[in-house]
């Protein structure tokens, strides 16, 4: 039987540099800083969180920045989170065809790094899976938060999960990048508890750009360039019985 892992007590990041991940109108902590998430994934492939607990995290829970493939969060619980539980933000580049609103060409040098309409280099989260998991009591500080935020990412699967008690949409598809995603077998209720007019799932249109300013570094789980890493509690472990690591205390 494997030992469980919990992630807790990361500090707040709502004053950190933010940007616009894409065509939607949600802001998010800029992805090049590893404190964007209590668990920060960049350059990974096959990372798995099985029966983990993400709790008492005052910023985002799991943040996938740039290239990530097939990251999986399954049989896990994400709760008591200040911002979003899981956030994806990929990078794109200029295609040479960018235009301003008047149709004039925009040189690639005028675009901030990581922006543009060309995602063909694959530098985005793809194949992310959130399954058989609980997400609730999120967005304590940042009301524009969701259980899964998808910005310039594609082929995400959200399966057989239960989401409830959030301030805004439980799932935010923030742009039209790639898509190919699937949501199936989920139950969701009590979204928009601290706003109105909206939805359990929020999809939006075209891709856009992000900006960044300055930041400071803090201690966070920073998982870069891992291959087939599994953080595994055992399929039958109960989240309530899991010990918590306290490496994230700030």
């Amino acid at each position: 039987m494997r030992t469980g892992v919990g992630f807790r007590d990361a500090g707040y990041t709502y004053m950190n540099p933010h940007g616009n991940p894409g065509g939607g109108d949600w802001g998010l902590q800029s992805p090049q800083y590893d404190e964007a998430g209590a668990v920060y994934l960049s350059g990974t492939s096959g990372v798995r969180f099985v029966s983990c607990t993400f709790k008492y995290l005052d910023g985002n829970g799991v943040f996938l920045a740039g290239f990530n493939r097939n990251a999986t969060i399954t049989k896990s619980e994400l709760t008591q989170i200040g911002d979003s539980a899981v956030a994806l933000w990929g990078y794109t580049k200029a295609s040479g065809a960018e235009q301003d609103l008047d149709g004039a060409p925009v040189p690639a040098s005028a675009l901030p790094p990581g922006t543009g309409i060309d995602g063909s280099d694959g530098n985005q989260p793809r194949g992310t899976v959130v399954s058989e998991s609980l997400c609730h009591e999120i967005g304590f500080f940042q009301k524009q938060s969701s259980c899964v935020h998808m910005g310039k990412s594609m082929e995400t699967s959200i399966l057989d999960s239960v989401f409830f008690n959030g301030p805004r949409a439980h799932v935010n598809q923030n742009d039209a990048f790639g898509l190919g995603s699937r949501m199936a077998g989920n139950v969701m209720w009590s979204s928009c508890r601290e706003s109105s007019d909206r939805e359990c799932i929020k999809p939006r249109g075209a891709s856009g750009r992000w900006h960044c300013i300055d930041t400071f570094r803090a201690n966070r789980w920073h998982l870069q360039q891992l291959e087939q890493t599994t953080i595994h509690l055992g399929a039958r472990a109960r989240p309530a019985a899991q010990p918590h690591t306290e490496a994230l205390r700030h």
């Binding site: 039209a176 949501m183 199936a184 009590s190 601290e194 706003s195 909206r198 939805e199 939006r204």
Partner: protein
């Protein structure tokens, strides 16, 4: 793909077999806002809120095979489409939300008829009878003709509301909703049937169980 030219047409985003409850401030189960496109929303159960939303020039969204309980606007279309890229709302079963629903919570559990149309097409124009009928002719400068959404084969369970099924064009005193039959005659579109009764709680529960794949009650 690496080495290939960027392609602006994404794969569809499939949303299927979910149970989405729009309580608190939620107005939609799936809010297709701000031009979102290429969604396949099928076989879900929606409670309260609304159905298909098409807004700010979104397109290529298919909303079909869903069960809606206490919905206010199952097929809401606030835009128009390049032919071949229409949004579609079909084969849905909808138990309409009652009028003055806040007085009759839960929203479906009333004999008070809905006071809203169940199809809304703001870009619809009954005076425009050339193909695309009731759509927009347009011109080369404006990108050519624009079609209405494809709405058909829906079953709407309501309470004797037959006069206000479809809102064609913007709402207003001079443009009230018309019946499905009237809309079929003026625009040639058969949006579906509107029944004269709304099921009771036990029947609604049975419908939800059937859609969600849950066992029937003993």
């Amino acid at each position: 793909m690496p080495g290939q030219l960027p392609n602006l047409t994404p794969k569809p985003f499939v949303i299927e077999r979910n149970f989405l409850v729009s309580n608190y401030g939620s107005g939609y189960g799936v809010d297709n806002d701000d031009g979102s496109a290429y969604f396949d929303i099928r076989d879900n159960v929606f409670y309260a809120g609304s159905g298909l939303k098409s807004d700010y020039a979104g397109h290529d969204k298919h909303f079909h095979g869903n069960l809606g309980i206490g919905l206010s606007l199952p097929c809401g279309v606030g835009t128009q489409y390049k032919p071949g890229h229409e949004d579609q709302c079909y084969n849905n079963t909808i138990v309409m939300r009652s009028g003055q629903w806040r007085q009759f919570l839960p929203a479906h559990n009333s004999s008070y008829p809905s006071d809203q149309p169940w199809v809304s097409m703001w870009a619809c124009d009954v005076k425009q009878q050339q193909p695309p009928r009731c759509g927009t002719l347009g011109s080369a400068a404006t990108g050519g003709p624009s079609s209405l959404a494809k709405v058909h084969s829906n079953t709407v369970l309501n309470m004797n509301q037959t006069s206000g099924d479809v809102q064609c064009g913007g709402p207003g005193p001079g443009n009230p909703p018309m019946s499905a039959a009237e809309f079929r005659g003026k625009c040639g579109v058969d949006v579906g049937t509107s029944a004269a009764s709304r099921p009771g709680a036990a029947e609604v529960e049975a419908m939800v169980r059937r859609w969600a794949g849950l066992p029937a009650t003993q």
